[in-house]
């Protein structure tokens, strides 16, 4: 169950890490769900075109980057409301993918990977697991140990400080938004290439879960790693428990979301308590 949990964790973790950058830069990316969807589709297209899973992953991340660039223009250059633009990004992804799919493959439904799926494993787990963990650690170092990361955090917390030093907060916002597109596209690629197929709704709410995990992890890369893992453990447990308990399956499937909700309530209560103490 631990191995399964680790593998389930990967796409949520990667997408949430990207989302964290935008949250820290003060422009939380609400479009993660759509970016994952686009990344998943582009990964299958890329792998089918080139015959390489690696190139599929590259296509997926680049597709996420492209869509997030559009989102970035709307939010940062045109000063659109980030929530409205984020929802528009999700709707755009949901509309554009079936259209392109119909043009390329003649179907708006299932698109299969034409390349054999060969999951590279290290000590029994997918190679994506250590990569995702390393990404979380690297992001921690970046955000808290490098001048660029510190300035990015200042963009969300105190943009006036950057302006006072003749630095442009928008530059950091743009960077964060593009990185979140790369990450979410990569998360989509991880989902699709693991399954060996693209199908409508393949993101299945992972983008929204990633947004919750950002706050569940206290807006900290290592906290997000823990939050994503806990969510995946409960998801994995809910799947396994259907086999050995008499509790209705539909009830068990709600368990990860119930736990997440409970954690968010605790998080909010702690935050409120901390504010009162200050």
């Amino acid at each position: 169950m631990i191995v399964n949990s680790l593998e389930l964790m990967v796409p949520i973790l990667i997408a949430a890490l990207g989302g964290l950058l935008t949250e820290r830069a003060g422009v939380l990316n609400i479009g993660l769900e759509g970016l994952i969807l686009v990344g998943a589709f582009a990964a299958i297209v890329g792998a089918n075109l080139t015959g390489s899973l690696l190139m599929g992953a590259v296509f997926g991340t680049l597709a996420g980057l492209a869509l997030s660039a559009l989102y970035s223009v709307a939010c940062i250059e045109l000063r659109s409301n980030i929530f409205v633009a984020g929802l528009a990004t999700n709707l755009l992804a949901a509309g554009i993918v079936p259209t392109v799919s119909a043009l390329l493959y003649g179907t708006r439904g299932v698109v299969r990977l034409a390349v054999p799926v060969s999951a590279q494993r290290i000590a029994g787990v997918s190679v994506m697991v250590p990569l995702a963990v390393i990404l979380a650690a690297a992001l921690h170092v970046f955000l808290f140990e490098t001048p660029y990361g510190i300035r990015l955090r200042a963009t969300g917390g105190n943009p006036q400080a950057l302006v006072a030093r003749a630095l442009s907060p928008d530059r950091y916002r743009r960077f964060a938004m593009l990185c979140s597109g790369l990450f979410a596209g990569g998360a989509g690629a991880a989902v699709a290439l693991r399954l060996g197929v693209y199908l409508p709704n393949i993101s299945a709410g992972r983008g929204w879960i990633a947004l919750v995990v950002i706050f569940l992890g206290m807006r900290h890369p290592l906290g997000i790693l823990a939050g994503a893992f806990v969510f995946a453990v409960f998801e994995s447990f809910a799947a396994a428990a259907q086999g050995f308990t008499e509790v209705p399956g539909t009830l068990l499937l709600g368990l990860p979301y119930l736990i997440t909700l409970a954690a968010m309530v605790v998080y909010s209560a702690l935050g409120r308590h901390a504010r009162i103490e200050r």
């Binding site: 399964n4 389930l8 796409p11 119909a102 179907t107 708006r108 439904g109 299932v110 799926v117 999951a119 989902v191 693991r194 399954l195 060996g196 197929v197 199908l199 409508p200 709704n201 393949i202 299945a204 709410g205 992972r206 998801e235 994995s236 799947a239 396994a240 259907q242 086999g243 050995f244 209705p248 399956g249 539909t250 499937l253």
Partner: protein, 343 residues
Amino acid sequence: MKRLVYLMAGFFVVTSTLSGGGRAEVSEADLYSIGVFVPGVVEGSPTYEMLVAGVEQAVAESDAAAMKVVEGGFNQALWQQGLTSMAAGGEYDLIVTSNPEMPDIVEAVLEAFPAQRFLLMDAWYPGNPQVHSVMFNQREQAFLSGHFAGLVGRSGMVTPRPALRAGLLAGQEYPIMNEVILPAYLLGLRSVDPDGQVDFRVLGNWFDAGRAAELANSMYATGSHIILTIAGGGNQGVISSARDRNAYVLWFDSPGLSEAPGVVIGSTYVAQDRATYERTLSAIRGELAFGEAEVLGVADGYVGFVEDDRLYERHVEAEVRQAMSRMIEQMKNGDVYLDMSLR
């Protein structure tokens, strides 16, 4: 209240027209007009593709009919609005739709539009003079699946095991799943091994292939050698899991062996296209008996198990195929019959 219904219907008509929901030209006034309401999207759904193909064939064969397809989308809450708008327009002599959930949805529309007639496929709605319904004998269909799962489990195709255990993954729990498919699948499995067990799990939706793969991993890990998957898009997750573990998958409703050769090794089917074609043609000719509900099964030739496929011959042992053929023959002859009555 009625005004509200009309308002909602009008809104749906406008939005569905603007969004390109309609596919064909509206019929001329003197033609027998048929509206096909698809509770979902046609493309990618073999069941709905067969539904539309059946109506298309009937319309093509008749000089006096026209048809239009309206896709209701995946939001089930909008299906009633969609049907209401079709009935409110008054342009259809017959509305054809398909889904076990549709009787409850149609019931609300019937009262408001007493002149509207419906052909409900894959559904059970007896006794209403506005409705003709056709249900496929899914008890027989699931029994065939379970019997095949049992035969494979006791063959050389899998590692010998003391307890026979087969999986069933459902997208959602619904009456036919719980009261018909699950018990019949178990019955079929136990027709091979009386101690056989079914590991029944629910995906919770019809699209999350990632979670379906997780569920399938757990089912295979706890001893299932094969999984009957009835989970829509989630089926792809089961295939992915089975491929990783060299395990097997059983398909339902449409021939599915080519979905993953060597992984999907058995498949039942329902001849929804033929059944729809025949009943639609009868309706156009004024011969369809409204108020009646039919049940079509193996003996009628509308439910079956895919045998005439090279992939089946290549990936399934001859002994299993022969035993399966014997069971199918017994069901065709009526020696083995499973009652589909629900209410």
